[in-house]
Structure formats: C-alpha cells, structure tokens
Amino acid sequence: MRRLIRLIPAIFLLFLWLPGCGGGGGGGGTPPAPVSLAICNSPAGPSNTMPVCFSGADGPDIPYVTVYIDGKPFNLLLDTGVTGILVNQSALQAAGINMAPNSNTFSGSFADGTTFSGFVNGAQVSTLASGGLSTTSNFQIAVDTGGNAFPSSSALQGDFGMGLSSSVSFGLFGGGAVPTPSLVQGIENGNFNNGFLMQLSPGLNGDGYSYSGSGQLIFGLNSQPDNSTSGFSFFPNDPSQTQSYPVIDSESGGLSKNPSGNKYKSILDTGSNFIFMENSAIANAAGIGENALASHEYQLPSSTPVIGSITLVKGGLNLSVGFYTGSVFDSRASFVTSPNDSSANFEFPASAFTGVPSGGYILISNAVNPQPDDGGLELMGLPYLLTQPMYWQVSPYGIGIKFP
C-alpha cells in the first residue's frame, strides 16, 4: 500500500499530462516569423475605388486589400463570405494602435475549426492612404485577441468582410449583440453607402487553366459614372433569408446547373479559392452520371452544350463547367479537381496542393451534400469569379452580375 501511495504523485502527473496527447500538434520551438505583404496600391483612380490585389501567401491567389485603420495600413483578406472587419490585435499593436479591451465581446469559428474572439472597438477606417473614402465616425472593428484564424504569422492580418445584407444577423460576429454593419454602410457620404461594385479581371496563368487576377472595389451604386448598374442582371435577395453574404437564390436561378430542381443557393465568396458544388451539379456539368462521378469511372462525354472536356490532369480531373444566370448560359470555367481517391466525394490530402501548378485551383464537391429541399448551398469562390472579366454589384437588396 505504501508503495502505491508513493506512486500517487507520478500517477497524478501522468493523467494531468494525458489530455495533451489528443490535441495540439503544433509542436514546440519558436513560432514562424510573420510574412509580410506589399501594400496594395493602384494607379490613381477615382476616390471611391479601392484596389484589390492577389497573393499566394495564404493559398493560391488570395485576394486582399489594404485598409487604413487610424491611418495605419493593414492587409486584410477580401472576403464576401463574412460581414465586418476583423483585425489581429498583435498587428494593431505592432502598428502602435492599442485598443483597450471592453465588454463588447465576440467569438466564433470558421468551418475549418479556426476561431476568432475578442472585443469590438471604434476606429477610423479609410480605403486609401489619402484621398479615399473614410468612415464618418469611429467604425466598429473586431479586435481578434484569442483567435487563430489569422495568426500573427499569417501574411493576412485579418478579414475585410464585405458580406452585405439588410440583416446582419448572420454576420461574422452575429448574434445581434454587436453592431457590425459592413464598411459600405458606415462609409462617408450617402452617395457611397448603398452598395458596391467589384471588378475582377483574370489573368490566365502559364499552365493554361488556372487564373490569378486583379481588380477593384467601386463604392456606391448609381451615384457616379463609374458605379452605374446599367446592364446588370439583378437577383434580389430572398426575403425569407437573412444571409449576410451575396447569394443568388435558386428561385432566381442558381449558378451551377442542377438536374434535380436547382433549389439551392449560390454564394459568391471571394474568401475561398475553391468551388463547392453538389456532386449532382458537377456530374451534370461534366455530362456524366452521378454514380459514375462517385466511382470515378470517368469517360469523355458526348457532345453537350455545357461540358468542354473532362480529362485526367495531374491526378485530378480537368472539368469544364458551365454557369447560368437565370436560364441564360453565360460563362464556362475550367477547374482541376482533387487527385484521384477512392471516396465518393472529393477528399484530398494536403499533398494535393503539390499536385497542381502554383495558382491552380481545385474544385471539390460540397463537404456535405446540400439537399435541394433543404435549401442547400454552394460556394462560388474565386475560380468562378475569375473565369472572365466580370463586374458584380452587391447591395442590401440583392446582387447583380455583368459581363463587359
């Protein structure tokens, strides 16, 4: 018994240590040094424009903007998938901006399990170093103190959430407790607070099928010659929804063509360089049966108006997929799927990133099959948005697309 008693401290310590076995994995050592991005400048343009740059620092061709907070520049992910401005506290402190914590807190997570948490405080936000648009009063930005979605080692110092809706209840810091209108709703002068245009121009990479791009945000709608909405196909928001990101509802016509009814939502998401679609939509676009897609028994399709090619490329599939606005076929994009695997869905290992050229995109199906009857959703990330020169407008009342 005494021997057992002598072992108590050791046993106790052992079990205190055990919980650490299951998680973590970050390893020891010093954290990686922060990667810096160039300030996103552009040639002088109208004061209501803001340049969009692309970087490979956090995945292939991630769009970012340089936002000026209290006069200091911060490179933030241009993200229409969320609402509000999130900035890493350490980045703010490094720039000499020390905001006192308060009780106006927030917390949440992204789908990959990374988190954001902290407090909300006011700051002046400007779109350019000088001569741009600025918020008329202190704009509420979210100071990320405890999250890991944008770690201090990341080139991106936070999230520039440009999701927009008449409701912000599904915003990045949702819940209704924190007022987080998107930037355009807080920007100076009523001429620029009713929406924005995004112009994205693709540049085809040397591999022949992947894209990088450039672009700009143009604030305001129909208030200046450069933000006219003439010629846009307009899709009103579904009034029954409270999405805070740009959504083309299936009632207006989804973007991909689903053979089973089209009742799902296409979210235009600049925060992802992937496209997520239903298996059935991919199979339809590819001109093959869903079961064939699931079993990877691919074959060159017979002639269809939608599919251009389906061939094995670097272990994955080169799919050419058509997109519709309403019932009108308006664009086609090529994607590279994940390297082959034995699963019904496109799961791929991290090494998949080495299987495609730098800047190449990977298309995968939805992680969870969205059901048409359940208002399934699909994300149209940059591969779609960069298929060709494109304007799209976002307003609290809906979104529009225009191909010049």
Partner: protein, 157 residues
C-alpha cells in the same frame, strides 16, 4: 490517506471517462440505434433524402438504411443507420455555430485526428481512428451557416 486515495481514484476514473470514452457518455457514429435513442431520446424518423443526395438515398434505401433526427447539444443531427441498426453517418445541416467533432466521433474525440484536407476558413476533413474503426469528420460553410458530417465507410451499407 484512504480519503486521499479515494479522491485520486475518482480523478482517475473521471479522466478515463472523459478521454477514454468508456463511461457511456458518447453516442455517435458506430453506436447502435438503441444507444443513441437512450442517450438523446426518442428520435424522429426522417427520409434518407434529408441527409443524402437523391441517388445515394435511393441506394441506401434499397440496402435497408434508416434515417432519424436527434437533438444533440443544441444541434439537429440526422443519423443514418444500416440494416444492423448501427449508425454509419451523422449530418448537421445549416448550423449557425460549428458542431464540434466530439458529438459525432464519440469516444474517438480524445484521439489525435489526421488532417485529410483543409481549405482555410471554409472546410476541413479529419480522420479519427484508423482502419475499420476510422470515422471521418468533415465541415463546410460560412460563419452562420455550417454543414457538418461524420461517417464510417466500413459501416456504410
């Protein structure tokens, strides 16, 4: 001293329960319908197409699979059972907050998962366990609208 021993073994037991998952605290992929019903209450029977693509739902229907919805940790979770009454897939659709892996993978939650894929901020696929016992957890979506599933390929009809 006996009191100290009693406290110590209580702590050990709690640790084993939490990290070993052997105290009946879990009901997840790999558990039977009875276990899950006991844990989460009588479920509602729902069509397979609520959690599967139409073609897949038809195939599973023909294989004798059944689908129920449970309320687990504030989430509505669809659980599909094979013809032996064992759960092979769980799905949570349109969850406002991200359902944690622990409610899907059960006793494997304390193990270190293998990252199968990760798309920054939008999706992740994790594998808990290995071989026939492997459970895949996948999440997808935007803040405020998450879809999550967990499944065992070995148990699928």
């Amino acid at each position: 001293m006996k009191k100290a021993l009693l406290i110590l073994f209580s702590i050990l037991l709690a640790q084993i329960c939490v990290y070993g998952g052997v105290c009946g605290a879990w009901a997840a992929v790999g558990d039977t319908y009875n276990v899950m019903a006991q844990k989460y209450g009588a479920p509602a029977r729902v069509p397979l197409k609520r959690a599967f693509a139409p073609a897949q739902a038809e195939r599973l229907w023909n294989a004798g699979a059944k689908n129920y919805s449970f309320k687990i940790g504030g989430f509505t979770v669809y659980a599909a059972f094979n013809s032996s009454g064992v759960c092979f897939r769980m799905v949570a659709l349109h969850s406002r907050t991200l359902p944690p892996a622990s409610i899907f993978v059960g006793r494997l939650a304390g193990t270190r998962p293998k990252v199968l894929s990760r798309i920054p901020r939008r999706a992740i696929a994790l594998q808990y366990g290995a071989g026939a016992n492997a459970v895949i957890y996948r999440s997808f979506g935007l803040p405020g609208n998450f879809n999550v599933e967990a499944y065992s390929k070995a148990l699928e009809p």
